[in-house]
């Protein structure tokens, strides 16, 4: 099963991945809502997945795909723990704005 796609479009997939990463980083930096910040982390992880899958399909080696499976698992774990922490912070401060979490001391 060979998929034919023009090589220039493969280059464009790099630009797509980098744009996704930059957008995720931008959101990570500018948004105040902690939940949206976590979503932006997911965007960055997805851009890395895109690069890994692209390289794997280009070289025909399955290692990239396996790494993507691991990355997706870790992403799910990160989302679950991060959202649990946000829930606790909301209980503590009644808000999820990043600016209100300034002290480490409860």
């Amino acid at each position: 099963m060979n998929q034919v796609i023009s090589p220039s479009l493969l280059q464009w997939s790099h630009y797509l991945a980098v744009s996704l990463f930059a957008l995720g980083l931008l959101g990570f930096l500018v948004r105040k809502n902690a939940i949206v910040v976590l979503m932006c982390v997911e965007l960055m992880l997805n851009s890395v997945n895109l690069i890994l899958v692209e390289v794997s399909m280009r070289t025909g080696r399955p290692e990239g795909i396996i790494m993507v499976v691991f990355v997706i698992t870790i992403a799910a774990a990160e989302a679950a723990v991060g959202l649990g922490i946000i829930l606790n912070l909301y209980r503590l401060k009644d808000t999820v704005e990043m600016d209100s979490f300034k002290t480490l001391q409860g």
Binding site: M1, L23, M39, T59, I65, F70, A75
Partner: protein, 167 residues
Amino acid sequence: MREGFFIFFSLLTIACALGVVFAKNAVYSAFSLVLSFFGLAAIYVLWGATFIAMVQILIYTGAIVVLFLFVVMLLDIAKGPPTISTGWWMAALTGATVWVFSVLLLRTLNKSGLPVPTGTLAAVDIRTISKLLFSEYLWPFEVLSIFMLALIVAAFALARPEKGETP
């Protein structure tokens, strides 16, 4: 034809990522995230990586985004003031710089390291992946399962109400 689909889904992904970053309502952000992940899954299908496309839809949109939406609706934070913080231009500059340098990096990679694309993509089928996952990558796989067990305990401990507090 296939190129057209690729361009369409790339634009969809980018537009929805913009939606995630700039939507004022967190619920809209989550739905944009769903569409963005669907665009990526469609691109994986175009490349022949059907297993990853399936996992992407099942886990990312089926589990992770649902978790996000659940927390957003649980906390009732959809309303509230606009959410862009003050250091906006600094962050935009950072993003643009990262973009430019990453493009430079990828160009260099394309010139030297990676194999030149020949126009045909070798499909990696699910049989190969599963064989490798349970032979050569068995150790990472098992470590990951123990990690997931720890995750379940951690998530439960984090989300549990305090003593004396009604959930």
